[in-house]
């Protein structure tokens, strides 16, 4: 967990530095500090505008459904594949270790618990931040530099309501559903991989896997992905809406959307796991 976090942090800082080379000039640490504060300050104002746009009618239900399709249905194959691969790898890797400790019978439980508590949610969060984050960043960035967002405002349509609120809400709603799909594929493929080594019925696999599972093992980790969805939607919309300097800026927005949303998803995961453990033990 720590290595991806360090990698993502390094990438985010290098991205921010590249984006603001002109402003950095001589006083490096002071400017970096100012930039980080500026970024969070602007994000705060952006958030306030987003909440106002999302809460005050009229609501853009049609666009919300379109975004749910765009973010949910179209991410499903990739999320399912990643979930399935995780299930297979977990099964292959853990099996060996458990045999060594004479605890082979725990394999279904290990697979189920690993997937529903951590692997499924975090893999889904990172896959969606890659696919959807880049898409939102690039799309809004391109709309910004080609004056489409200005055109929307000129038509008396609030772009925060139509473009931002719908995307953020769609991310929040779709992430738990995608996590369920990822969990299902992971557990199912974990069973398949296990069955190839040692035949076991699906029913027996599930029964022993879920024997000690409680709702508190399943619901909070699944629902925490709503926070991931909020982060991915918010950060990528924010990066997209502040795009400057033509196509180069669009590329930069797409990259920084992925890097920053992945970074914040990883950080939020650490905090949420701690919170969940504190509340539900």
């Amino acid at each position: 967990m720590i290595y991806p976090a360090i990698f993502v942090l390094a990438a985010a800082i290098s991205g921010s530095l590249a984006a603001s080379r002109a402003r950095m000039r001589l006083n490096f640490p002071k400017n970096l500090f100012t930039l980080v504060f500026e970024w969070f300050g602007e994000l705060g104002f952006f958030c306030a505008r987003l909440f106002r746009a999302a809460l005050v009618p009229p609501y853009e239900f049609g666009e919300l459904l379109r975004q749910c399709d765009e973010i949910g249905s179209k991410s499903l194959p990739l999320v399912a594949l990643a979930g399935a691969a995780t299930g297979v790898v977990l099964s292959l890797q853990t099996r060996d270790s458990l045999i060594r400790f004479g605890a082979k019978s725990f394999l279904p439980s290990v697979i189920v618990f690993s997937i529903i508590k951590e692997s499924g949610p975090i893999i889904t969060g990172l896959i969606v931040s890659g696919r959807v984050g880049a898409g939102i960043g690039a799309q809004l960035g391109s709309m910004k530099v080609t004056e489409q967002i200005d055109a929307m405002e000129a038509s008396a349509v609030d772009p925060y309501k139509f473009l931002v609120a719908t995307r953020v809400l769609a991310c929040i709603l779709m992430l738990p559903l995608l996590t369920l799909a990822s969990d299902f594929c992971g557990i199912f493929m974990g069973w398949i991989a296990n069955m190839l080594a040692e035949p076991i019925s699906l029913r027996l696999f599930l029964e022993s896997g879920f024997k000690n599972a409680l709702f508190s093992d399943f619901i909070p980790p699944t629902l925490k992905t709503m926070v991931f969805g909020f982060i991915i939607g918010l950060v990528s919309c924010f990066q997209g809406m502040r795009t400057l300097r033509g196509t180069e800026g669009v590329g930069r927005s797409a990259t920084s959307s992925v890097v920053l949303s992945s970074l914040f998803v990883v950080v939020a995961d650490v905090l949420l796991v701690r919170l969940i453990l504190t509340i539900w033990g």
């Binding site: 391109s142 004056e147 000129a154």
Partner: protein, 250 residues
């Protein structure tokens, strides 16, 4: 220098805008009467497009007053500002069509959001608007599948969708071949006669502006350097005005 009239639909007074230390507009005063078309000329980067964006508050002025149909828009809340925006049509330099929507959906976009028309009524209205700009054959095409001139026509149809009282054109003929540029100029002229709209046209095309504008305004160094008909500008003794109009008229 400016025509002070009581029936001005657009009244700009002491308008200032700077980006950092660069003063783009430095005390602009301009009135546009109902039914009048004013061409704003000037060098590239001289603040012409910024002036248009300030008029619809896509950017905020540093100081000064902008009254649209009597409403001081610099101090309006978002809801009231949107009511004023509905009275204004804006044709952007690159048309700014929504690239994920078809030509028909682009023109229908403001209608869907601001009118209670049924789907059939909206469809009829969209067809009527696109027929006015001779674009009713390409309804299902995406903006990327039509030429720059066609995009400007569709942008114009979209700008007219809510029956605005004012039209703002940002370089309507820039980047177009002379024939298409003339066609767009003719469309502006036709609109002026047919709908009796007030319009501000930002352009470099002096000859085109002569055809469709009632008055020309020349922006230089953030101020209005000269104002009047092309003939009046040509008679100006100001070196910049003579040079600009001289080059533009060739």
């Amino acid at each position: 220098m400016t025509n002070q009239t009581n029936d001005s639909l657009i009244a700009i007074k002491g308008l200032r805008k700077a980006f950092g230390k660069q003063k783009v507009l430095d005390g602009i005063n301009l009135q546009v009467a109902k039914g009048e078309t004013v061409a704003v000329l000037g060098r590239s980067g001289g603040g012409k497009s910024v002036l248009l964006k300030l008029l619809i508050r896509l950017q905020t002025p540093d100081s000064g007053s902008i009254r649209i149909a009597g409403e001081e828009i610099t101090r309006l809340e978002e809801k009231q500002l949107n009511d004023v925006r509905k009275k204004i049509g804006f044709l952007f330099q690159q048309a700014a069509l929504y690239d994920s929507l078809t030509v028909e959906e682009n023109v229908a976009f403001p209608l869907r959001r601001h009118t209670n028309q049924s789907a059939a009524e909206q469809k009829d209205r969209v067809h009527e608007l696109l027929a006015d700009v001779e674009m009713d054959q390409d309804l299902e095409k995406l903006p990327s599948q039509i030429s720059g001139g066609m995009q400007k026509r569709v942008g114009l149809a979209r700008a007219l969708a809510l029956d605005p009282e004012i039209l703002l054109f940002d370089e309507p003929t820039a980047g177009l071949d002379p024939i298409t540029a003339t066609e767009i100029g003719n469309l502006i002229l036709e609109l002026k006669k047919k709908r009796h709209l007030s319009a501000i046209v930002v352009t470099h095309d002096v000859q085109g502006a002569k055809a469709y504008s009632d008055r020309m305004v020349l922006l230089h160094n953030g101020t209005i350097q000269a104002e009047g008909s092309l003939a009046e500008l040509q008679r100006s003794e100001d070196g910049f005005v003579a040079q600009f109009v001289g080059y533009g008229s060739k």
